[in-house]
Amino acid sequence: HQVICWRAVASIAWAVLLLPPITLVFVIISKFSFLHPIQTISECLYLLTSASGIFSFILLCGVILIVGFLHLEYYTVIPTIACSKIALLGQLLHPRHFINSLVHCFMGVIVAWCCAVTMGLRYETLGYPCTESDGHPQMCLNEYHLILLLAGAFVGFSHSLLGVIYNMNYVSFHTVQQYKYLRFKRCLPLVVKCSATQALYSVRNYIVMYLFLGKCPFFMNKMLVAQPIHLLTALNNFFQIDYSVHPLDSIAGLLDLSLLYHLWSSATFLLLTWNITLLLFRIFVTEVYSFPVQSSFTEDSHQCLPKVLTEKQPMILKFLALQDLALLSQHSPSRRCEVFSLSQPGGHPHNWNAISKECLSLLTDLTQRLVAYHDTVATNGRAKSLSSGKDLMSPRPVFLMKTPASVFARSVAGTPQSPLTSLFTPDLDSPFASPALRRLTAPVDQCSPWYGTVQSPHIMRRAPKLWSTSTGEVEFQKSNISFSTHRSSNIQVLSNEVLPEASSQALFADSQAHIWALEGLSYLVQASFSEDQFGVVQTTLPSILSCMLVLQEAVDRHFKLPHASSKPVRSTSSMGDSTYKTLRFALRATLKTAIYRITTTFGDHLNAVQISAEHRKRLQQFLEYKE
């Protein structure tokens, strides 16, 4: 566990170390003018040595630290996959994520303030001296400063929302091992590109929002006048708005190119520093860690591979141990030898037993999950299925996942129907009005954490904003309509909009572990053909083979379902890691390869292995290369 913490600290330290060059680039970009290159340089130098510059830099370091610790707190190796839009909304409004969003929002303001100080000129302060019409000198509100701060808040907030939607906290492991520096070098251009485009979209959305809601500061001003509290009145008097200058909430005011450029560059700066912190965190945390297979000291035994494998928490350690197992079984004969060795007094193959048992239990778990899911889908939408499905799912250990309920919700509401038609004919002729279905959807909704808050104005405000950023105007209107019409049909309409193939993704969300277990087992069995001196593998070979064959059958059946074999759209231009979307294909390929690896190695010797006739038939197919 300490290892993970040290890795996180190292990644944060690197992120802080990378901050000065990024800031320098940002300063140069924001100050650059073609006409006065020398003046640019002198201004930059002056800024970097000034007290405010140093202070804002320290603030930025603090922000990076907080972002880094948030990553450590929120990262996951098993993505949470929302099977419907309503589940997604539930995730977004989960208090945990909500706090995360608020913190990001706040940090966005801080970074924006630092940017404002750095850019100087008209952005520098919140107030500026002006004279009222009667010649009375006063402080006025600098809207340029305000717009920048609000932009920071908006970008930070939308960043964290998008993070939830795209599973940005998901840490994926790579099939290709590379040194950290090379990996970072490879990803850096991608991160810069992502940050720039994301900043562009955020700024666009922000501008649109500001255009509509830009009057708010003025209203606030007016409201403050009515307040009797002295402090606020003082504040109000302090910041008088200078109405003579061009108001920024008009189209003409917002079409100021220099303003747009500065907004975009500071948003890019903000996103870039955060994304680099995220990237470094991912790279450091997923680095291969070599666990000792066995230790000669008993106090170290809890750090050994068989022990770590069997532990449930934290998940990342289990994943690292499985990754290490897969690699050692491929590449290191000396460590394989330790796996096959017998314990000194007693002569029991404890290492192999622990490893194979854990891998097999992982695979069996996946098989059961697939079978249960398939049964539920097969009896599509009948009341019996859900209850039996729930019974099957409930005893499963915490190892997985927050979404089984939503998986079943998807299977229930699987009928494709255009949401708009169901909107205008909400109750009578829509298939969702059937009482059985009501009964089915109700428990799911009650389980979800946001139940009961749907009708609050809270959502009414947030939902359109969120969706307009993600899918555009149509969603905006649709959600408005849906909220204004039937409240009861709301839930159904939303839960009907199942994200395609999400349930299949959710089933295989943790399949990276299974992939490693398959690789580790098959390589170890392959190596045992020539390296296993005591025959420890032979005793478990029948169970390994039958486990793999049963899983193969379940996977084959699963891929016959609609949606299961459709490929997700590849999205390359986002920081979110979409590896989890294709894990099921990877699992299928790895499973086949693993069985072939064993059959190719053992060949006809497999006929001597005790397995059931049905499995033998299946195995014969593999021996003849007909799968």
Binding site: L182, R186, R597, K626
Partner: protein, 515 residues
């Protein structure tokens, strides 16, 4: 060091090489043996006339339609879609009547600047100016690729089936145990440069095409003769075309692809359709890949005088600059400890030995390559006149047991007395590594060898499959007893059908030899 002067003289014309038995190559007159060979299900003949070739490429179909004037915006959008930034600039420059003068002027200037820069880049790496067909022909392992009926060939690593890519951009899969011969066609499957079966899998076939990489999944139990294009995964990456070389990892998990236009080498996770680009500065591209059979190293040669040897655990590489030309071909010994390669412009075979464990490659690897064979031109006198054999090498293949090495010599297509020919060496690793002469493999009169590959698990020695310029595919067995320890893990493959199709006395002889 072995040289061609030690070889037995080539056969007179009309004789073809049949097999190796009792340590010598046996030949036969072609007519009688051709009949025998034709009866074998795996010996194929693709006459050029039987193939339906594309009369014109897709882009030229524009001329068949009437000219239709669109607005400038539409044309610009189309140009952006088809030709990217340069296409857009071209369009703006060409339609100078409709756009403001300053715009057409400036786009013309930018275009000229881009061309100048690219010509500068092209003068550094001359191969970048080639068209993509020419580039495949230049860097392919196939001799005279553009004129070849059989453009690529691949044995399945575990069973007796193989895939043949033909001049008409189709791929046929032959399996002696099944009556169906699936034909694979795909819209994107053009100018196939290489095909390779995925190891530890019955169905996946990777195809290197002009613009992308296709991975076909051909169900071996299916009776369909035309699998739909839905069975193919398309893997593409911007800038990564044409793909001239592919290599599966021996464990079947990863696929490498390389293009001479792209200095990055792609490591594909095929199931996830994701790739990791591995980039190193220098070389101007990657032209040829070869994964060592034990999976620890990858040879990646570049179009300039430089090749790299990657180790596959952490994907770091060693640079090997050559003196004369680029690395044309290379092959690994079965245990992955020795690399043989040839350099364009030189007539020798070099060897590199990797003795240490993977991971420490960069510290104590070999310091320089050793010359193990000299293939400079040698004149043999035959009844038909003098024949000059030797010269530059097109490709090298080593059989999976590491006992026979086949070398395809380019020859000179203009001169009649300098034919392209396959020279086969015996290889011996102990006590020192050396190559010993075995003989030349020749086909019918007038047929040149174009492409060759060893069968991955032939029980009685080695089986060399040769594709000839007349569209014929023949198999030449080499019967010998392996000197090294028998290989584990290859017993899964059933016995080959070939021994029955050979003249029976050869079998007897070879078995005699075993005893």
């Amino acid at each position: 060091m072995c040289s061609l002067a030690l070889f037995p003289p080539p056969l007179p014309s009309g004789q073809t090489t049949l097999c190796e038995s009792n340590n010598e190559l046996l030949s036969g007159a072609s007519t009688e043996d051709r009949l025998k060979q034709e009866s074998s299900p795996l010996s194929l003949h693709f006459p050029r006339e039987s193939l339906k070739l594309h009369s014109r490429t897709e882009s030229s179909s524009k001329a068949a339609f009437l000219d239709h004037s669109e607005t400038l915006w539409m044309r610009s959008a189309a140009a952006w879609r088809d030709g990217g930034f340069t296409g857009l600039l071209n369009e703006i420059t060409n339609s100078h009547t409709e756009v403001p003068k300053w715009l057409s002027m400036s786009s013309g200037c930018i275009l000229a600047l881009l061309r100048w820069v690219s010509s500068f880049h092209g003068s550094l790496f001359p191969h970048l100016t080639l068209s993509s067909e020419d580039m495949i022909a230049e860097f392919s392992q196939v001799l005279n690729w553009s004129d070849c009926v059989v453009r690529a060939f691949a044995w399945h690593p575990h069973t007796d089936k193989f895939a043949v890519a033909l001049l008409d951009d189709s791929i046929k899969i032959y399996n002696p145990k099944s009556a169906t011969t699936p034909t694979l066609k795909h819209r994107l499957q053009r100018s196939v440069a290489a095909v390779q079966w995925k190891p530890l899998c019955a169905s996946a076939l990777a195809v290197a095409c002009q613009n992308c990489l296709l991975v076909w999944h051909v169900d071996p139990c299916s009776l369909s003769t035309r699998p739909s294009s839905g069975c193919a995964q398309v893997l593409s990456h911007p800038g990564h075309s044409p793909v001239t070389s592919i290599a599966w990892s021996p464990s079947g998990s990863l696929l490498l692809s390389a293009s001479p236009m792209d200095s990055t080498m792609m490591v594909w996770d095929v199931a996830a359709e994701s790739c990791v680009p591995l980039q190193r500065v220098g070389g101007g591209g990657v032209s040829f890949l070869s994964w060592s059979p034990d999976g620890s190293h990858v040879l990646a040669s570049t179009p300039s005088a430089l090749f790299r040897v990657w180790e596959t655990r952490m994907w770091t590489c060693e640079r090997w600059p050559c003196v004369k030309g680029r690395c044309q071909s290379g092959c690994w010994s079965p245990d992955g400890s020795r690399l043989l390669f040839t350099v364009q412009g030189e007539m020798v075979i070099y060897a590199l030995t990797f003795t240490d464990a993977p991971g420490q490659l960069s510290h104590s690897g070999p310091q320089a390559a050793a010359v193990v064979a000299d293939l400079s031109e040698t004149t043999f006198s035959t009844p038909d006149g003098d024949i000059v054999v030797g010269g530059e090498i097109q490709s090298l293949v080593w059989d999976p047991r590491g006992e026979r090495l086949a070398v395809l010599l380019k020859g000179d297509p203009q001169a009649a007395d300098r034919p392209a020919i396959i020279a086969v060496f015996k290889t011996r690793a102990n006590p020192i590594f050396e190559l010993l002469p075995c003989g030349f493999v020749q086909g019918e009169a007038g047929a040149e060898p174009r492409l060759m590959q060893f069968h991955p698990n032939f029980q009685h020695g080695a089986l060399l499959t040769v594709c000839w310029s007349n569209g014929r595919i023949t198999h030449v067995p080499f019967y010998f007893v392996s000197a090294g320890v028998p290989h584990f893990g290859l017993s899964g493959s059933p016995l080959l059908p070939h021994p029955q199709q050979r003249p029976a006395d050869f079998v007897n002889q070879s078995q005699h030899h075993h005893l």
